[in-house]
């Protein structure tokens, strides 16, 4: 059988491949869908701005050792509390450490916490929400009461409680923030599932003999993923703030780790005399969470036409 299933794009022919009117393989069809969605982003200035900052953050975090100008742990008490200058772009802190280098390395910690939390909370919320919504009955009741209990606490307080129980540290704050951020996603996924489960294509899948788990996995989850991605991207801002908050309270990353919240916390003492020590990590937190918010809004516009 002469099957063009594996027709791969030729070099330089990528544009033609993406624009082909008749896709010749599943991969091509999916690539075309993705390309068209991404192409719709181009007019959304704020989303592009957010995406740009996120990409910049990722690059900075990845190349941190190359960008940083000083050793982030090296103390130099002779040059403590210096104003921003060409030798120290963002000045130095109370122990003479270079704030620029520390903020650069701090982006690694922030992204690590945000992405790991998303990677734990999103699948957990998705599985719990779709299972509760599709299976219904007592499974739904039990799972949703658990979600209600979690939702009854403010997320920072809940994270505080978990950190207090597990002990301070980055890994524990990731676990704590994940535990606080999956319930809203489960709620969202359940609500989506309730509208999908009565649809004809789910009925058709049942008539083909698909089991409940097959239907959840292959029919319901793909429909819930876009809104979950949007929600988790918007949540990233809150996750970053919660992580910084835990660091600020001394329950997240521990000094001398250059975590932004912890840096902000030490800078607080010098706020009135040496503003840059608190302002630089504070602005970093602001810009990072703003970027995720803007990008999340843009994603919602292209992935979820109902809110567009």
């Amino acid at each position: 059988m002469s099957d063009p299933l594996t027709a791969a794009p030729q070099a330089g022919a990528l544009a033609t491949w993406l624009a082909a009117p008749v896709p010749a393989s599943r991969a091509q069809a999916q690539a075309q869908q993705f390309w068209r969605a991404a192409w719709r982003l181009r007019y959304n200035i704020s989303a592009l701005f957010g995406l740009g900052i996120i990409l910049l953050l990722l690059l900075v975090a990845f190349f941190a050792p190359l960008i940083a100008t000083h050793d982030i742990y090296a103390q130099d008490l002779a040059s403590r509390l210096q104003r921003p200058s060409f030798s120290h772009y963002f000045g130095t802190d109370e122990l003479g450490r270079d704030i620029f280098s520390r903020v650069i390395f701090g982006s690694r910690i922030t992204l690590y916490i945000a992405l790991l939390t998303a990677a734990i909370a999103a699948p957990l919320g998705l599985v719990v929400g779709t299972a509760a919504g599709y299976l219904g009955g007592w499974i739904d009741i039990v799972l949703m009461r658990i979600v209600d209990v979690f939702l009854a606490f403010p997320s920072l307080i809940l994270a505080l409680a978990f950190v207090a129980a597990l002990g301070p540290g980055i890994e524990n704050s990731v676990i704590a923030i994940s535990l606080a951020s999956w319930p809203p996603i489960a709620r969202l996924a359940r609500a989506e599932t309730l509208t999908i489960r009565t649809s004809d294509y789910v009925a058709a899948a049942r008539l083909q003999g698909a089991s409940s788990w097959q239907i959840i996995w292959s029919d319901i989850v793909p429909m819930c993923i876009p809104s979950v991605i949007v929600r988790i991207t918007l949540n990233m801002a809150a996750i970053i703030l919660t992580a910084a908050g835990l660091g600020f309270l001394g329950l997240g990353a521990q000094p001398p780790s250059p975590e932004w919240g912890a840096m902000l916390s030490t800078g607080r003492e010098f706020m009135l005399t040496n503003w840059w020590i608190a302002a630089v990590p504070g602005c970093s937190i602001l810009v990072a969470s703003l970027a995720f918010n803007l990008f999340g809004d843009g994603l919602r516009d292209i992935l979820d036409p109902r809110h567009g």
């Binding site: 059988m1 099957d3 008749v22 896709p23 010749a24 393989s25 599943r26 091509q28 069809a29 869908q33 649809s199 004809d200 294509y201 009925a203 058709a204 899948a205 049942r206 008539l207 083909q208 003999g209 698909a210 097959q214 292959s218 029919d219 793909p222 429909m223």
Partner: protein, 264 residues
């Protein structure tokens, strides 16, 4: 008596919706049978319970009273895979019955995988050919297809596991008139080629007269009368309600569409 000639038979089939104080008996003690290779039509106005009968027979609505027989055997309320292998359904709205994020190939490959059939690519190409779509359609998403093309994909999905019975829930009412004729001719051709048994639900007399040999007239959850296709065309009904129903709808459309489609 149950005879081996009947592929589907219901006895005292009743479906009730609602709680104890506020119940609504949508299907009320319906008994009818469909013979092997026959096309049986259920007609009636909206809300008379015809689609509910279909959903009860196929197993989408397990809460029914009475008995349903398939090839002289009572079917359990929870259907199993081997039952679905032999009976499939085509839904009314092709815009809702295809998963929006699955390409045609995926839609057709899944039932093959569930039922453990072999030669996927070959079967998918064959069934697409049979419903009048080319192999090129394999990697399209539903939103890239027209209503008629979607309904062809839905028919292909039902046929790919080679069932004996096809339940059709108003398969053309969401389509343009010109496309309706194409789909009806396709259904007729497929039945001839594959020896399928059809149970068709519709409120459109032209459709039912074109496809079906025997027709059950439904009113308020009951089958009040059974007619042949010729009796419907000639409007020779016994019950007053049936005569009114035929008179109200036949004049406007039946003759015209039937003529358009006769060359098939």
């Amino acid at each position: 008596m149950v005879t081996t000639d009947n592929i589907i038979e219901t006895r005292g089939l009743s479906v009730t919706f609602g709680e104890s104080t506020d119940t609504n008996r949508v299907v009320d003690d319906v008994s009818f049978h469909i013979r092997h290779g026959e096309a049986y039509g259920l007609i009636g106005e909206s809300g008379c319970g015809k689609s509910t009968i279909l959903r009860a027979i196929v197993g989408l609505n397990p809460d029914y009273d009475g008995e349903i027989f398939f090839q002289s055997q009572t079917v359990p309320h929870r259907r199993d895979k081997s039952f679905f292998r032999r009976m499939q359904m085509v839904f009314q709205d092709p815009y809702a019955s295809l998963h929006p994020r699955k390409i045609v190939h995926q839609v057709l490959a899944e039932p093959l995988r569930i039922h453990g059939l072999d030669r996927h690519e070959e079967r998918i190409s064959d069934v697409l050919e049979a419903v009048g779509l080319g192999r090129d359609f394999r990697f399209r998403y539903p939103h890239e297809l027209s209503g008629g093309q979607r309904q062809r994909v839905a028919i292909a999905r039902a046929l790919i596991i080679e069932p004996q019975v096809l339940l059709l829930d108003e398969p053309t009412s969401a389509l343009d008139v010109s496309v309706q004729a194409e789909i009806l001719n396709l259904l007729k051709k497929l039945r001839r080629e594959r020896g399928l048994t059809y149970l068709l639900v519709t409120h459109d007399l032209a459709v039912v007269a074109h496809i079906c040999e025997r027709i059950g007239m439904m009113h308020c959850g009951k089958i009040i009368e059974e007619l042949s296709a010729d009796e419907v065309r000639g409007m020779r009904a016994v019950k007053d309600y049936t005569r009114d129903f035929l008179a109200a709808s036949v004049g406007s459309r039946a003759g015209r569409i039937d003529q358009e489609m006769l060359p098939s």
